[in-house]
């Protein structure tokens, strides 16, 4: 193994081992949360709600929950990890190493991405035991989930780098991310909303992400799959390019 490979693996290992060391909080809590959503919206309320577009309500909801788990975990992991390391000053150890800005950015991003992946897989396995969950379009589902995970991993890195206090991360998550995800149609079909909310929902980028993942699982979509996939790819690439530019400049990382 070359020294560059050892360096990159160590940088990534640090990020993964961080969340694995506190897995009750980073893996257990999100799993419980998702299980509660499935219980409340599936078992308790779902039985009283008609099928949506011919699909049982609980089955309709699960793809969105899997996507939401990946998105929120990728975001919160990376924003917290970077801010904590900045706060402790421990990030100086990585910053004063020979690691390039690209290596640092990818390693910091991978932490949240892997945590989201893990929670999503566990959610999928648990959901598969509870309901009969179809997987209709794997070639759409896998890239869609990976792009969503990478997009929110980048967003987490961006907020973590910009943040100066823990409030900054909490505000971004509570007042921007969660409303966007909840109002993006995790728990309902936008087609059922009255105007102007149906139209407003279409300005929410998360609506298209949920649409893609739902299409991958259920074969049902309210929007154009190729266009949504293309736009998500462009948005993810743009966010990554922006983060790389900030890392190259040392923005809020190097004085």
């Amino acid at each position: 193994m070359t020294s560059a490979q050892i360096r990159f693996l160590t940088l990534s290992r640090r990020e993964v081992s961080r969340f694995m060391k506190i897995k009750k909080q980073t893996i257990g809590a999100p799993l419980l949360e998702t299980f509660l959503y499935i219980s409340v919206f599936g078992a308790a309320l779902g039985s009283r709600i008609d099928k949506l577009h011919g699909i049982d309500y609980v089955v309709f909801v699960i793809p969105g929950l899997i996507m939401m788990a990946w998105a929120i975990n990728a975001f919160s992991n990376n924003s917290s990890s970077i801010l904590q390391q900045k706060f402790q000053g421990a990030i100086q150890d990585q910053l004063s190493s020979p690691a390039s800005p690209l290596e640092l950015l990818v390693a910091f991003s991978l932490g949240g991405f892997m945590r989201g992946l893990l929670v999503s897989i566990l959610t999928f396995i648990a959901a598969s035991f509870l309901v009969d969950l179809p997987v209709e379009h794997i070639p759409v589902l896998i890239p869609a989930l990976f792009l969503v995970g990478w997009f929110f991993a980048q967003l987490g890195v961006l907020i973590g780098v910009r943040a100066e206090q823990f409030d900054d991360v909490a505000i971004a998550q509570t007042f921007i991310l969660q409303p966007l995800i909840f109002l993006g149609g995790v728990f309902y079909s936008a087609a059922l909303l009255p105007e102007p909310f149906e139209t407003l929902t279409k300005f929410n980028p998360v609506y298209y992400m949920i649409g893609l993942v739902r299409y991958g699982f259920l074969g049902y979509s309210e929007s154009s799959v190729p266009i949504a996939l293309l736009l998500l790819t462009i948005a993810t690439a743009a966010l990554f390019a922006n983060n790389l530019r900030l890392f190259n400049r040392g923005y809020k990382l190097r004085a």
Binding site: M1, T2, S3, A4, I6, R7, L9, T10, L11, R13, R14, S17, R18, K21, I22, Q84, Q85, Q88, G89, A90, Q92, D93, Q94, L95, S96, S97, P98, A99, S100, G250, R254, A255
Partner: protein, 250 residues
């Protein structure tokens, strides 16, 4: 080698105003100056933690900006703040650091074992860093800086707030590795420390190097008995000299 180094922060504060400094390989060099003089900024520019506004830094012939990989590989930094990762154990702290510098696993293990022993941290190897005492954290920061066997060790106020025993232990250790060939850049507020350890020192004040030379050279230049008095003469605070007080008492 540092040439015409300028560091201006976005706030407009100019922490370094064209600093030039040359350190020989194998030298024990002291950088002395009051708080806010620019010592840490200079160190941060050398290690990539701050980005110089202009000027150049060469570390063993590698430019710290354009060839930062090679330059940083040559430097071990023990910073003033105990910037340890709370999530890591003592041994992991050393292991991860060496990994960031590309050291293979087996070599990391052996090196960590050796340094844990040297700094009396073996019994604490599996403890999380936040549970350590201040003195142990200081030792760990120094051990971490040495993990990748850097030819240049930068010690930013390593003995600030440590007890006498640890201070002496650190002195003996850094003297030994200096004799074995490691170049050392030391910043300190303890002038007797610099006098005892350093081959040469430079005084920095308000972002400028105001004098440099060996301790006897500087004492002679300012017509005083020791480095502390030379420092006070340079800072315009001769009245604080211990000999002045002794004179008053008699």
């Amino acid at each position: 080698m540092i040439q015409d180094l300028v560091k201006r922060y976005p706030t407009g504060v100019e922490a370094l105003k064209g600093v030039s400094l040359e350190m020989e390989a194998g030298e024990f060099f002291g950088l002395l100056g009051p708080n806010g003089a620019g010592k840490s900024t200079l160190i941060h520019c050398t290690t990539g933690l701050a980005q110089p506004t202009s000027g150049s830094i060469q570390v063993f012939g590698h430019d710290a900006i354009t060839a930062y990989g090679e330059a940083r590989q040559s430097v071990g930094l023990a910073p003033q703040e105990l910037n340890l990762d709370w999530f890591l154990t003592v041994e992991e702290t050393l292991d991860y650091h060496a990994g960031y510098f590309g050291m293979p696993k087996q070599e990391r293990r052996e090196r960590a074992k050796e340094l844990l022993e040297t700094f009396s941290l073996t019994a604490k190897r599996d403890e999380r860093t936040r549970t350590l005492s201040g003195g142990m954290k200081r030792r760990l920061v120094l051990a971490r800086a040495l993990m990748h066997r850097p030819p240049l060790l930068i010690l930013d106020e390593p003995t600030a707030g440590v007890d006498i025993e640890l201070r002496l232990e650190l002195w003996h250790y850094v003297q030994r590795i200096n004799q074995e060939g490691t170049s050392i850049l030391l910043t300190t507020h303890y002038l007797e420390e610099a006098e005892q350890l350093c081959d040469r020192v430079a005084f920095i004040n308000e972002g400028e190097i105001v004098a440099q030379g060996s301790s006897p050279e500087l004492s002679e230049k300012y017509g005083v008995a020791n480095l502390e008095d030379a420092y006070l003469a340079l800072m315009g605070r001769k009245e604080l000299s211990r000999s002045h007080f002794e004179g008053l008492a008699s």
